[in-house]
Structures are given as C-alpha cells and as structure tokens.
C-alpha cells in the first residue's frame, strides 16, 4: 500500500508539473522556443532534486545521475577545446601530419605528453609503475615550488601584521587593544595545536585561551556557513519564481 501511495504521489506531481507548464506556455509566460523548454527542464530538475527533502525517490535519483553524466561530458569537451586542442593538438599533432601547417611541430611537448600518458597507465597492471614517474615529477615540483613561496606569503607576510606596533601614533585605544588581542590569539592558538607537549601548567592555561579564540572563530564560521547555504536556496527559489513561474519581476 505504501509503495502504491508513493507511486501515485510521484505520478500526480509529474502530472501537476506538466499541467503548470502547459498553462505557462499557453499564456505566453514561457516562450515556445529552446529557451522556454530549457527553463522547463531546469525547473523540472530543480524540483526533482528538492523532492528528496520529502523522501528519496526515482525522480531525484534520475536527476542526480543525469547531472553527473552531463557534467562529466561537459568536463571532457571543455578539456578538449580549452586544453588538448590549443596546447597539444594544434602545436604538435596538426603540424606533424598536415603539409599545409604554417609552423613546425613543437616536439618539446612530447615529453609532458608522455608523462601525462604514463599517469593514465596506473590502471594497467603491468605498466602502472610508470605512473610513479609522473607523480614523482608533479609532487616533487609542487613541493619545491611551494617551500619558498609559502614561507614568504603565508608565514612572513602573516607574522608581520601580528607584530604591528601597539603604539606608533594615530591608533585609538581600541585598535591597540585589538592588536594585543590578535597577537594573544595567534600565539595561544599555535600553542594549543602543539600536541607533543602536555597541556598543563602555563602551557595548559595559554592553550585554554586558544580554545576560547577557536570557539568564537568556529561560531563565526557557522554563522557564515548558514548564510552561504541559505544564499544557494534563495537563488534557486528566485529562479523558480522569476524565470519559470514569472511571479517575480
């Protein structure tokens, strides 16, 4: 009985959706064009995904899997047009096989292309060890490039404002207190994260202060997270009310 009622709810909802769209097109609120049908499809997918809030159902699963497939296809096509074609196909493959090519093939691109193909060989049982060369290249390069830049951008540039003078002329008392509080917060949070030393005595008291700073920070993050997620919902409801139903102007 329960399965039957779920089936009827689903069919009824789809029927209602179809009727609304027929009305919207007939009344001219939605154009009878590819854009109009696109808005209907978008609204249908939006409502299918939101149907999950009532109960997990086939409409939601279809929308979800369709989205996964389409976004995968889009990723591959964009990778072809924006990366493979201008960076490899046009400068390397076309000049090699086309006599009408204006420029000579850039043979230097064979080396990174080979490393890229080695990476794909990780799915082969016999040749998967070749992918290690590519990963070593990428990881070693990333590690080497990061060290001086992270030291400069994240450590030195972040320590500088924390050591800002408390009194150097022009500050209010509140801004001086804030400077001291920031320094206290940074040091106490760093001490809290030193887990190789037992948190007792002076270290324990300072790390306790760090915990307070962290709690305030997490509360602020929670507030912003609520704000962020709500914004996504508001945007979707705006689409449904404005673009689909035409209630909002």
């Amino acid at each position: 009985m329960r399965k039957d009622s779920n089936f009827f709810i689903l069919v009824g909802s789809i029927g209602l959706f179809v009727c609304i769209n027929i009305f919207l097109m007939a009344s001219g609120k939605l154009p009878f064009s590819s854009d109009g049908f696109g808005i209907i499809l978008g609204a249908g997918l939006t409502l299918a995904v939101y149907s999950f809030l009532y109960k997990d159902n086939p409409a939601f699963k279809i929308a979800e899997n369709l989205y996964v497939g389409v976004s995968l296809g889009y990723t591959i096509i964009i990778t072809w047009f924006n990366f493979l074609k201008p960076d490899l196909y046009d400068p390397l493959i076309v000049p090699m096989f086309s006599k009408a090519a204006e420029k000579a093939p850039q043979y230097a691109l064979i080396f990174p292309s080979l490393l890229g193909i080695f990476m794909l060989l990780r799915f082969s049982r016999k040749l998967s060890w070749l992918s290690r060369w590519t990963f070593a290249f990428v990881v070693g390069l990333g590690a080497g490039v990061s060290i001086p830049r992270v030291i400069s951008a994240f450590i030195l540039e972040q320590i500088k404002p924390s050591l800002h003078p408390v009194f150097s002329g022009g500050e209010t008392i509140l801004s001086s207190i804030n400077t001291l509080l920031i320094m206290l917060g940074v040091i106490s949070v760093l001490i809290y994260f030193i887990f190789s030393v037992e948190h007792k005595g002076a270290i324990g008291k300072v790390s306790k202060i760090g915990i307070w700073f962290l709690m305030i920070s997490f509360g602020a993050s929670f507030g912003y997270t609520v704000m962020g997620r709500l914004s996504l919902l508001i945007g979707r409801i705006q689409f449904l009310l404005k673009d689909w139903l035409g209630i909002l102007q």
Partner: protein, 217 residues
C-alpha cells in the same frame, strides 16, 4: 626493476624539488625560462588527470550495470547524460571538434539547462539540513559551546540588514568578532598548516614521505 619502480621516482622527486626550490632565488634569465617551461609541462600533465576521473566514474557505473546491483538502472542515466553531451560537444554545432568551439550549440543548451540548475540545486539542499541540524543538535551544553552559539548568533544577525534594526551595536560587534578573535584563530591555523606543509614538502623531497608512490614501498 626495483631501480625503475622505486629509485628513479625518488630521484625525480628529489631533483625537481631541489631545482624548483633553488630556482626561486636565482634571478638569471635561464632560471626564469626553466620556471616557465616546467610550469607549462606541469599544466599539461595536470590536464591528463581529467581522464583518470572520467575513466573511474565510467568504470564504477559500468560495473554497477554489469552486475545488476540494486539501482543499476540509474547508472544508465549517467551514461545517457555523458554520451549525449559528448555527441553534441564533438558535433560542435555542425563544425566538428577539430575546429574551434562554436557558440549557442546544443552542447551549451545542455550546460545551461541541465548542469547549472541541477548542480546549483544539489548544493542548496544543505540549507534545509543546516536549519534542521541547528534546531535539533545545536545545544549550549558547555561554556565553550555557549560561546560558539553566542558568536554564531551575533554574526548571523550582524551580517544581514535586519541586525541593524534590532540594535545598532550588533553589526559593530559582528565586525569586531570577524576582525579580531576570528582573524587571530584563522591566522594561527594558517601558520600551523603552512609550517606543516613545508615540513611535508621537505619530507617528500628527501624521500622520507613516499605515499605519493602509491603503496608497496
């Protein structure tokens, strides 16, 4: 074989790591050219990683269809969506994929009316779950959680126009929370994470950290 499988990758990682770390401090033109070439190669290699993800996803759903696991029919829609997008993408509005990308094709239509609405909606569902979770589980059981709750409430009110109607001090307090205690905590975390990242990078370069080789070592 061990030499090719283990030693060569470790040598590559060491050489690249030391070379690129030293490169930063050498202002000679050769050094700049090396950086440009190596970054271009790294970019090209990164592009191939897309196909790893694509293969993994196709393989996962193919296995589900082949073994007829529960819900295998939905995996057909993954293939349907991907194949139809690929067909229209390669057709490229009639100009085919070896030409430049055309505008306003069926491929773009699928993006604007399938990927964008579905993608935006899937993540917007979290708004409902956050509201439900806030009501059911956000409890001021300890002093720390009370402080967290109060900070969250002040920031939530201070960050919307209605906070100013309740009290003119709420936006100012919210700004202070963001600019002082939040900043201090985030900076502490950033410094700690950065020091950890540098330590890990050094371990990778010197071959102490080998997890990127994929196991077996």
């Amino acid at each position: 074989m061990n030499f090719l499988k283990r030693t060569v990758p470790l040598v590559i990682a060491f050489v690249m790591g030391v070379l690129m770390a030293m490169q930063y401090y050498v202002p000679h033109k050769l050094s700049q050219d090396l950086l440009e070439v190596v970054s271009r190669w790294d970019r090209i290699i990164a592009g191939f990683a897309v196909f790893i993800g694509a293969y993994s996803l196709f393989h996962l759903h193919w296995t589900r269809i082949k073994r007829k696991v529960e819900g295998w029919g939905y995996s057909v829609f993954v293939y349907f969506g991907a194949i139809i997008t690929l067909i229209f993408g390669f057709l490229n509005g009639g100009k085919f994929f070896w030409n430049d990308k055309q505008q306003d094709t069926m491929f773009d239509w699928l993006y604007y009316y399938v990927q964008v609405p579905a993608g935006a909606t899937i993540f917007s569902i979290l708004a409902f779950f956050i509201a439900s979770a806030a009501y059911r589980t956000f409890r001021a059981r300890t002093m720390e959680s009370t402080v967290l709750l109060i900070a969250a409430i002040l920031v939530m009110l201070g960050r919307v126009p209605i906070g100013n109607y309740i009290s003119q001090y709420i936006p100012a307090i919210a700004d202070w929370i963001m600019a002082v205690p939040n900043l201090a905590a985030k900076r502490g975390i950033l410094l700690g994470v950065s020091l950890g990242a540098i330590a890990t990078s050094l371990k990778i370069i010197f071959g102490i950290e080998r997890s990127y080789l994929g196991g077996g070592d």
